[in-house]
């Protein structure tokens, strides 16, 4: 264990040395390889060998399952922005007359980290042991075994990717996270959920009503949403495990735009019970703890800072919607956005430094980010209308909805606007939110 730590420390300093050349920023922590600052990241090379059978030979079906798992891991790691998965396979090794399982071969190809897995399939169970190697030092960094049903092979691959990211970078892994959104497939607007990459789509509500603004609780076990199923737009909470709905706030008028406090104890939301759209703090029982805004303008769309001490929100108190920040007790209000005449939908990055929001454009809206100091305004989208940005828990990605294809679909992209891709196909999908990954 001690040697392991020493090795990690040495490697860590090496990586920090190189990454600091590119970024000029060093976050020194001994138990991780690289700490990625947002911006100026330098992805880390990794090679992923095709998994080999634990015993005997693979049948064609087993071979297919193995290749699928490896491909999911490659896609995950490439998406993470922290890794660059080298495009080498057994063919390249054969041409170069190198042994696929010999770390020396990887070393000669210039790969610094290699994942080698062994896999066995019995009945409907997959059994994988994977070992992460430090190629330069010929050492194991990490080994772990996984068992699951074949039907959960995507879950298995995402769990392996999660472990690789966490062990090598210390970043919160996002590959097992979920995205919930509203979809209008019949006349009703129902809440759906899928994996971060769009697979495993499931319908969560089925009440033939209007259901809006889903938000994951910080423990990911529940989702709040606003529903008209009893007539008034009330706030409901869905227990994902029990698949049970409970009404938590049914003040007369709107009970909308709820946002969880990071500790999961309270929610900020918009109520119109006192005659105007104001932001209130309620507990999980729906009891009002405090009214946070008092202004004859519209105050809506609250969003907690990651430390829970501040709330970003939208207000049209200056004549048109703009983003403001206040302390969690409602004091110390300041305006954040001045760039365009219409800004809404704030989402505070889990890293704390940026707020994503939408700004009005010729074709509707674009997703933007701005530092909480009000500097570094960045427009991340340009095609169609783009709405409802929400961050991944690592702060490197955003999910949003866009009508650029002619239909409203859910998209994901990197924090800087690169690699925008849809994860839904058909069905008028909007208002996504990204689970926290806890």
């Amino acid at each position: 264990m001690e040697r392991f730590l020493v090795k990690i420390t040495i490697l860590g300093f090496l990586f920090l040395f190189f990454s600091s050349i590119f970024s000029g920023t060093v976050f020194a922590q001994t138990e991780i390889y690289v700490k990625m600052p947002v911006g100026g990241y330098a992805p880390m090379d990794i090679g992923i060998a095709e998994f080999i059978p634990k015993e005997g030979e693979f049948s064609p079906e087993e071979k297919e399952i193995t290749q699928k798992i490896c491909q999911i891991i490659r896609d995950d790691l490439n998406f993470s922005l922290m890794f660059y998965v080298l495009d080498v396979d057994s063919f390249v090794f054969n041409v170069l007359e190198q042994d696929w399982l010999n770390l020396d071969g990887w070393f000669k190809l210039g790969v610094k980290t290699a994942l080698i897995g062994k896999l066995k399939i019995k009945d409907d169970q997959i059994d994988v042991t994977m070992i992460l190697h430090d190629v330069e030092r010929l050492k194991k960094i990490f080994a772990h075994s996984y068992k699951t049903k074949i039907s959960n092979l995507r879950g298995l691959a995402h769990a392996i990717s999660d472990d690789i990211v966490y062990k090598l970078t210390g970043e919160p892994p996002i590959f097992s996270t979920k995205i919930a959104f509203v979809s209008q497939r019949d006349d009703a607007k129902e809440i759906y959920i899928c994996d971060y990459d769009g697979y495993n789509l499931k319908k969560l509500t089925d009440d033939n009503s209007i259901n809006l603004s889903p938000r994951f609780s910080p423990d990911e076990k529940r989702i709040t949403f606003t529903s008209y199923k009893e007539g008034n737009p009330d706030l409901w909470i869905l227990d994902l495990k029990e698949n049970k709905n409970n009404k938590i706030s049914s003040e007369i008028g709107l009970n909308s735009a709820a946002s969880w406090s990071p500790d999961g104890k309270n929610l900020a939301l918009t109520l119109t019970r006192d005659g105007n759209a104001e932001i209130y703090l309620i507990n999980q029982m729906g009891e009002i703890k405090r009214r946070l805004t008092k202004n004859w303008a519209i105050d809506s769309s609250p969003c907690f800072s990651p430390n829970g001490k501040q709330i970003a929100f939208t207000s049209d108190r200056a004549g048109a919607p703009q983003i403001y920040i206040m302390d969690v007790d409602g004091s110390n209000v300041r305006r954040l956005t001045y760039q365009t005449s219409y800004n809404d939908s704030p989402a505070w990055s889990p890293r704390g430094d940026k707020i994503a929001f939408v700004t009005r454009s010729a074709s509707g809206f674009d997703i933007c980010t701005i530092d909480i100091t009000g500097e570094n305004f960045m427009r991340l989208t340009s095609e169609g209308s783009n709405e409802n940005p929400q961050w991944s828990s690592d702060g490197y990605h955003l999910v949003f909805s866009s009508n650029r294809s002619g239909e409203n679909e859910i998209y994901i992209m990197n924090w800087d606007g690169t690699d925008q891709k849809p994860i839904t196909k058909g069905g008028e999908n909007y208002s996504p939110c990204w689970s926290t990954g806890h």
């Binding site: 209007i210 909308s256 735009a257 119109t272 919607p321």
Partner: protein, 181 residues
């Protein structure tokens, strides 16, 4: 009164005519030929052909008056991202208020709606502001607040699904729904 009678009679004749046209035509057809209607409009008395026997004259007139008043709870429309009442919206609200005063048992719900531009959450709040603008105006005209409830549907229930200025203008509206008589 005569004018109303003549108007209602001709309306009824048209209803009967079109209703019969939809069904199998058996012998009634000659009675409702168009030239005849015109003839009867000239006459001061009410002809018997057009009125189904189960309704009295008074009932028909009252029915049509009520129909007319119901139609008069007209929608009002708003500017983009605004909830103030335009002059023509105030006129419509004054007419709606007269209808409500003439029918004191009616209770209504004002539904505030928005166009698709803007976020779900902001539009919910904007729709509520729009409904409340009309509610306050009606209350100021002397309508009992207990007769008017409000709800916002934000941009969730557009009447026109197109994505252009015409559709947006139609969708930025208050609707007045009679919830009890």
């Amino acid at each position: 009164m005569k004018k109303v009678l003549i108007f209602s009679l001709s309306l009824l004749l048209i209803f009967v005519f079109s209703g019969c046209a939809g069904k199998k035509k058996e012998g009634i057809e000659p009675k409702v030929e168009l030239p005849k209607i015109e003839e009867e409009m000239e006459k001061p008395e009410v002809g018997e052909e057009g009125i189904p026997p189960e309704y009295t004259e008074e009932e028909v007139v009252r029915g049509i008056e009520e129909l007319g008043q119901e139609m008069e709870l007209k929608n009002i429309h708003f500017d983009f991202d605004k909830y103030f009442l335009r002059p023509e919206a105030k006129e419509i609200l004054q007419r709606n208020a007269r209808t409500l005063k003439a029918n004191p048992s009616i209770k209504i719900r004002i539904e505030g709606h928005c166009d698709e531009r803007g976020t779900v959450e902001y539009n919910l709040a904007l729709g509520e502001k729009r409904a409340r603008s009309a509610q306050n105006y009606l209350i100021n005209l002397g309508i009992d607040p207990g007769r008017i409830s409000i709800i916002s549907y934000g941009k969730e229930r557009p009447v026109d699904l197109d994505h252009n200025e015409d559709a947006w203008a139609k969708n930025r509206r208050d609707e007045f729904i009679i919830i009890s008589r």
